[in-house]
């Protein structure tokens, strides 16, 4: 079972057991992790699921696509090198993923 470690801007952490095939965004929203909004449900329309992905997980996911790239440039919290939209981070069996949630999504 994949496991996601969500760290809030204030350092609090939520650890959620996820389902393979779900995204880091879906896992957060379904389990009430605050700071990940995901209004559009993962259709790359809202950019409210911005996260900073831990370096050790950088190669675990498909690279940033064109729409994601364009949206990250305009995310509410300034983009960093490890910025991702968490709706694009699809979890696999056995995955352990660490993400940090930015200050604001809107």
């Amino acid at each position: 079972m994949p496991k996601v470690f969500y760290t809030q801007p204030d350092g609090r952490q939520d650890v959620i057991e996820a389902a393979a095939g779900d995204s880091v965004m879906q896992t957060a929203v379904r389990n009430g992790v605050s700071g990940i909004v995901g209004q559009c449900g993962g259709s790359l329309s809202c950019a409210t699921c911005h996260v900073f992905l831990a370096e050790e997980n950088a190669d675990d996911f498909a690279p940033v696509g064109d729409d994601e790239d364009e949206m990250l440039d305009c995310a509410a919290t300034e983009r960093q090198d490890n910025s991702r939209l968490s709706c694009q981070l699809i979890l696999r069996e056995g995955h352990e993923v660490h993400v940090t949630i930015p200050e604001t999504q809107l």
């Binding site: 095939g21 779900d22 879906q26 929203v29 379904r30 389990n31 009430g32 909004v37 209004q39 559009c40 449900g41 259709s43 790359l44 329309s45 809202c46 950019a47 729409d67 364009e70 949206m71 440039d73 305009c74 995310a75 509410a76 809107l106």
Partner: protein
């Protein structure tokens, strides 16, 4: 204190969680009419219809969420009677005779598809799309359909047409208004969208009204238009808007006028009952909306944001619902995003795209930028959504200057605003 939420869609689910987060201590009961746990509706016309997203993947929350937040989720119960005592308390009764006593009531009953008021609308093969059952029925029909006519060129109709065409089935969209997505986007944007759909093989017919559906042995066979033409069809999808499900509220004596009339705190006419989401008729939450007419908003954004504000009302906080409404519609390869509510007479200013297929129509009311319609231009959309919420505008000549992105233009305008406010 018992909180009862009638309607387990996006708004009801959001309110249940937010109310708990804001300190509601008593039982929270969320009653939904459908047999499924609450799910996201937008994929029903797209990924779910294509068979790419199973129902489980549409779940809005996990079972653990409802348990952790002590939300009693009741599915498959249709509340058909509400008795209000006058002080906000009362009793709700379901069709199966179950009863729930409440201290505070939230109505999040949603909307239902508008029916086509013409002959033949009841024929087999005439479908509309609102819930999972509708989507499953439509997916089943699409498996064997050979000619699909979509009546109504709004978001849902166009999304279904795009899904149909992508499956290789001939699709025709019939829209009575002169342009697609009438009243929602400018004609400039509607034209771009129509052209893209035509290029994808969809017949787009505007300014034509269906007058009759013809059947053979009880099954639909053709759509007859007001110019006399007949379009053959073995599947007709009706997407001509939705009506608020406000009959419970009406029967309970709450004021309704195209939805349950609420104030900016989501309070209905009794001053106690809350109504949120598609079923609510509310003051326009946009900035600069002091003279705006009341409206209903059918969107995920409104369901979530109005519910969040309403949860604050329940917690005794004064947080009237304010925000820039936004919408999205994925139609085949088209990504349409709209920020802000434009009126038909707001000026259209086109900002050229950087890549082929991109289009941004900015809408101005006088000198004020009030909305943007973005096709395949998510960066413009995000920059606009943020700027509108901050009340930042741009002169037309700046907004159409493509040497810099909208984000960069707004950053300059923002820092100029700041300097101005610091130097009296």
């Amino acid at each position: 204190m018992n909180l009862l939420i009638v309607g387990a869609g996006q708004a009801g689910v959001q309110l249940a969680g937010s109310a708990r987060d804001l300190g509601w201590e008593g039982p929270i009961t969320l009653v939904g009419q459908e047999p499924h746990a609450p799910y996201a509706r937008p994929p029903l016309s797209k990924a779910f219809l294509k068979g790419e997203a199973p129902l489980a993947s549409l779940a809005l929350r996990s079972a653990a969420f409802y348990a952790d937040k002590r939300i009693d989720l009741v599915t498959g119960e249709h509340i058909d009677r509400i008795d209000l005592a006058g002080d906000g308390t009362g009793m709700a009764t379901s069709a199966t005779g179950h009863r729930w006593r409440f201290d505070r009531l939230v109505l999040a009953t949603g909307a239902r598809p508008r029916r086509l008021p013409i002959e033949g609308a009841g024929l087999d093969g005439v479908l509309s799309l609102r819930d999972v059952r509708d989507a499953q029925a439509l997916a089943g029909r699409l498996a064997t359909a050979t000619a699909v006519v979509v009546i109504g060129g709004g978001f849902i109709g166009l999304e279904v047409a795009a899904t149909t065409a992508a499956a290789g089935i001939p699709a025709t969209v019939v829209e009575a208004a002169p342009a697609l997505m009438n009243r929602v986007v400018s004609t400039a944007t509607a034209d771009i969208v129509a052209t893209a759909h035509r290029t994808a093989g969809i017949q787009v017919r505007t300014g034509l009204r269906p007058v009759r559906l013809r059947g053979t042995d009880g099954a639909v066979a053709a759509v007859e238009l007001d110019d006399g033409e007949e379009l053959p069809a073995d599947l007709v999808v009706v997407g001509v808007g939705a009506q608020p499900r406000d009959e419970l509220a009406r029967a309970a004596g709450l004021r309704c006028d195209d939805g349950i009339v609420v104030d900016a705190r989501s309070l209905a006419s009794d001053g106690h009952t809350i109504a949120i989401g598609d079923c609510a008729n509310l003051p326009d939450p946009s900035p600069w909306s002091h003279d705006a007419p009341r409206l209903r908003l059918e969107s995920v954004d409104n369901a979530v944001e109005q519910a969040t504000s309403a949860a604050a009302t329940l917690a005794g906080l004064d947080r009237p619902y304010r925000g820039v409404p936004w919408f999205w519609s994925d139609q085949g390869k088209l990504k349409l995003q709209i920020a802000g509510l434009a009126r038909p007479d707001d000026e259209i200013v086109l900002r050229p795209g950087r890549r082929p297929g991109q289009h941004t129509a900015l809408r101005y009311r006088g000198a004020q930028l009030v909305a943007a319609e973005c096709v395949n231009s998510p960066a413009d959309f995000l920059a606009m959504r943020r700027a509108l919420s901050e009340g930042i505008s741009l002169p037309r000549t700046t907004a159409t200057d493509t040497d810099m992105s909208l984000k960069e233009h707004f950053a300059i305008a923002r820092s100029a605003d700041l300097k101005e406010s610091q130097c009296p």
